[in-house]
Amino acid sequence: MAPTTEKLQAVVYQVRRDIVRMVHGCQSGHPGGSLGCTELLVALYHEVMTHNPAFEADGIGEDLFFLSNGHISPVWYSVLAHAGYFPKAELGTFRKLNSRVQGHPATHEGLPGIRVASGSLGQGISVAIGAAQAKKLNHDDKLVYVLTGDGELQEGQNWEAIMYAAHNKVNNLVLIVDYNGQQIDGPVDKINTLGNLRAKMEAFGWNVLEQAKGNDLEAIIGSLTEAKALLAETKPVVILLKTEMGNGVDFMMNSHKWHGIAPNDEQLAAALAQNPETLGDY
């Protein structure tokens, strides 16, 4: 493991611990998708993006990240806290009364790092496009990243946005699809299949990257680097990131079961035993 990757892996372990502890602490929330996207968010915030933890909402001169599938908020909160956006002690208030760390990401309570509320699915790509077009008006050459779930692509607004982004050559936008193949009621292919998603995105005018190792830090960083280079072609870029829901906690993997339920005390202990405390628990 390269020294950078080793450093990031330490963050990954700690973020996984935070996720299961947060969800356990309030006995609600979404651990599966959060764990599945841990490596991605750690790579973005701790390696790839230029960003400012002092936080200014307009984000001028910074790369921006939007989380469309807001239910995987635990991973985002933990990554933001470890990046210095707010005290990690606040992670303990997740989903509790009078907290800035809401069940789904919100701006209303003023949590640094969040620029728009999300949770009702399908809205994030549109917002990211708007932010990307604002960057162009501002002659700001930084990029906008947006993450959506794969099941979330069943929402029609995504396709309005996907069509628009290609037509308007929004080539400062990178869409990442959390391609874990699962949604609440079961496998995406059984519920309402996305079919050939690569072909769909290409037909809509996007450049498409596929990354089969969506939980491998080096592979993720490689895809994000490739995406940046591809943006020169004036098309927006999508990365179909094959992630494993529940990654890093063995009993949460290979199933949609852990989409939205919390571990009990025993399960928490088992999950923590698999992930060493590297940066200090909140």
């Binding site: 620029r115 728009v116 549109s126 708007g130 077009q133 008006l137």
Partner: protein, 317 residues
Amino acid sequence: MKKYTFTEKKDTRSGFGVAMAELGASNPKVVALCADLIGSLKLGDFQKQFPDRFFQIGIAEANMMGIAAGLTIGGYIPFTGTFANFSTGRVYDQIRQSIAYSGKNVKICASHAGLTLGEDGATHQILEDIGMMKMLPHMTVINPCDFNQTRAATLAIADYHGPVYLRFGRPVVPIFTERDQEFIVGKAWMVNEGTDVSIFATGHLVWEAILAGEILAEQGIDAEIINIHTIKPLDDEAVLRSVAKTRCLVSAEEHQIAGGLGDSIANLLARKTPAPQEYIGVNDSFGESGTPEQLMDKYKLNAAAIVEAAKRAIARK
């Protein structure tokens, strides 16, 4: 009764279009978004003069609301333009989450509101938009009465931070307010002082209220007429002051009775000083095809209906 005259009729949407072109020149942060209705929204001048700040979204209103929210991140002041139906009901959740809850400085500008859309019929004649929008926390709701007031309102909301729903319409109506009027969000406009009954009107019904006031004056009834261009936040003080004097009222709007201006006033009065109230509005029904005049007559949204309502209100004192 104070005398109101007009020399010209214009559509309120044209007041919006004129103001947008002015804002394009005066405020470099103002951007406009449109969902395939440039002509209907009178956004052609803005589009021609400021092409870099004009976003043609196509027939995709949900995407438009999201893009508008995103454009605020970076400091822009987006004005979205489409029909009132597609500005509200079609995109309620996008407005709720990405704009209102997120506190985004987006101006949702909505034309062809209400029955006066006319011949297109009920699919397009939204009569629930004020209710939907005023229920959203943080949302300001404005419904100006003529071309000049719509122009003034459009200019004013560019400098008013926060999400705004600006509602206007398609038919040509008398221009009876001053071109360079001061428009203060949330401040009602006294049209005529009177003592017998208060008529609180909004949008196209303000001119009808003036006509009603003239008829009532001929019959010896002294009506106070107030233009409530801002439905939320409501000018509580203006309503309470007027009703303290007249002790009865009529609310008049081109909207469902349920959830509209009348309900906002009734809510205030119920808590402070209950008074007999008559509603001019559409009573739990969809619209239909017809000319604007025919529809306003059939659904009793005109001066004659306001006169009768005023008499009923007075009789209940």
